[in-house]
Amino acid sequence: MLTKRIIPCLDVHQGRVVKGVNFLNLQDAGDPTVLADFYDKEGADELVFLDITASSDGRDIMIDVVKNVSENVFIPFTVGGGVRSIKDIRGLLQAGADKVSLNTSVILEPKLISQASRMFGSQCIVVAIDYKKITDFKESTEDNEIGIDLDSKWEVYTHGGRNRTGIDALKWAERVADLGCGELLLTSMDMDGKQQGYDVEYISSVNEKVNVPLIASGGAGKLDHLYTVFEQGNADAALVASIFHFGKYKISDAKEFLRLRGISIRV
C-alpha cells in the first residue's frame, strides 16, 4: 500500500537555508546539503527547497545547490520558487531535481503546465497553489470559468499572500490538474505559520475534484494535525517546517505517532 509522505520544506536564500532551522548537533544548519542529509537520515520521505531569492543571479546559485544536494542525497526532492519557463525547469531537472514546483508563472501562463508535463513527464511537474479563505466578496476580473463568484470559498493569492488574483482556488486546482500537473502543493496562507492545523476543508474539497496526489501545506503545529490532514483531508503528503526545524518533534516521532493510529507510513 502506498504510504503517506512527510516532506520537510527548506527556504533557501542566496544558496543558504534561512528561517529558523536550529539544530544543536548540526555544524552548519545553513548548508542545504547538510540539512538534506540530516532529514534523509531522520526518515523524511522527500524534501522541498523553496528558492526565495528574487534576483536572477540567485538562479545560478540555486542550480549549484541542486547539484550539490543531488550528489549527496538519495531521496526525492522538489525545487520551487521563481520558476518561470521551460528553460528554468530543464535547468533544475538536469542539475538533479526530481520535481519542479510552479506557482505564479502558471497563473500568468497556464499552458506552461501542459508544455512542461508533455516534455518532462507529469510526475515531475508540481503546481503550488497559495490561497486564502474569502471573507469579502469582490467581483472577479478573471474569465468566469475560474474566476471567483458568490459560491466561491477560497481565492488564489500570489506574492506570499499579499496579492489577490480573483481566481477561485478550487476551480484553479481542477484547471491545473486538467492541464497535466502531476501533483498539487496546497498552501493555506491563513494557516501558514500559525501552527493551528492544516486547512482540512479545502484539501478534502480538492480531493473530491481532482485525481492527482495532494501535498497539504501550512499549519502543522502538533502531530495530531498530520493525522487529521491524512485521515480527514485525504492528503497524500504533508509539508512541514517549523515543528521539525526547531526540533520540537523528530520525524521518527511523527511517523511512530501516525503508524500507531493506523496511517500507512514508511518507517
Partner: protein, 206 residues
C-alpha cells in the same frame, strides 16, 4: 581488481545524474553515454528513464542503441532497467505507438482513474522469488515510485516483485542477467543503494 565500468544510456530522459551518483556511492564508475562503443565495452548497462515512451524509443532507435542493448543483454551482460527503462523492455505500451524492445512479453498499461495518477511516493515491494539482485533486501520494503503506467507481464516466472496500487502490478523483473524495476532505487535511500550494490555484485560474479 579494476573498478567496474557501468554505462548509463542517455536518451535525454531526465535524472541521469542521480543514477550516476548512486553507482559512484557504491564505489564504481558510471559513464552517461549515447555511444554504441561504450555500451559494447562496459561491464554493465543501466537504462534509466523518465518521460514518454515514444520519444524514448525513437531516440534509442535513431542512435542505433536499441539493437546494441538487445545484443549485449542476449550475450549475457548485466543489465538494469529503471522506471521507463523497465517499460521499454516490453512488447508494447498504451502510452505510445512505437513497439518496445520486446525483451519481455507483455504490455504497458495506464492506471485506471480509481487511483490517483501518477502513482507517486513510497510503496511496498513484495518479492516473488529469490535473485542476487535483492540479496539482503528485506521483503516488503518501501521504495520510491513516480509513474502513470505499469507493466502487465505475461510470464509470471519472470516477475521478481509486485506492488499494490489499486491493482497488483509487476514492480520488478528478473530474467537471468536482466533486472528491471518500476521504482527508483537511486531515490530510495539506503535500501535503494543496496540494490545498486547487488547489481554491481551481479557484474562481478557473472
Amino acid at each position: 581488481m579494476d573498478q567496474l565500468k557501468v554505462a548509463i544510456v542517455d536518451y535525454e530522459a531526465g535524472n541521469l545524474r542521480s543514477v550516476q551518483k548512486a553507482i559512484e556511492a557504491c564505489g564504481s564508475i558510471a559513464k552517461i553515454t549515447t555511444d554504441v562503443e561504450d555500451i559494447n565495452s562496459c561491464d554493465g548497462i543501466i537504462l534509466p528513464g523518465q518521460g514518454a515512451s515514444d520519444s524514448a524509443m525513437s531516440k534509442l532507435n535513431e542512435l542505433g542503441l536499441s539493437e546494441t542493448i538487445k545484443k549485449q543483454i542476449n550475450k549475457g551482460k548485466p543489465f538494469l532497467g529503471i522506471c521507463l527503462g523497465l517499460q521499454l523492455l516490453f512488447d508494447s505500451s498504451e502510452e505510445g505507438d512505437l513497439p518496445g524492445l520486446g525483451l519481455i512479453q507483455g504490455r504497458i498499461k495506464k492506471f485506471s482513474k480509481d487511483s490517483k495518477v501518477p502513482h507517486i511516493g513510497w510503496n511496498q515491494v513484495s518479492f516473488n522469488k529469490n535473485h542476487p539482485f535483492i540479496e539482503e533486501i528485506p521483503n516488503q520494503s518501501n521504495f520510491y515510485f513516480a509513474h502513470s503506467y505499469f507493466s502487465e507481464i505475461e510470464r509470471k516466472k519472470q516477475q521478481l516483485a509486485t506492488t499494490d496500487y489499486g491493482i497488483e502490478f509487476c514492480s520488478a523483473v528478473a530474467i537471468d542477467n536482466l533486472v528491471a524495476v518500476q521504482f527508483h532505487p537511486e531515490k530510495s535511500g539506503i535500501l535503494g543503494l543496496g540494490l545498486y550494490k547487488n547489481f554491481l555484485n551481479m557484474i562481478i560474479h557473472g
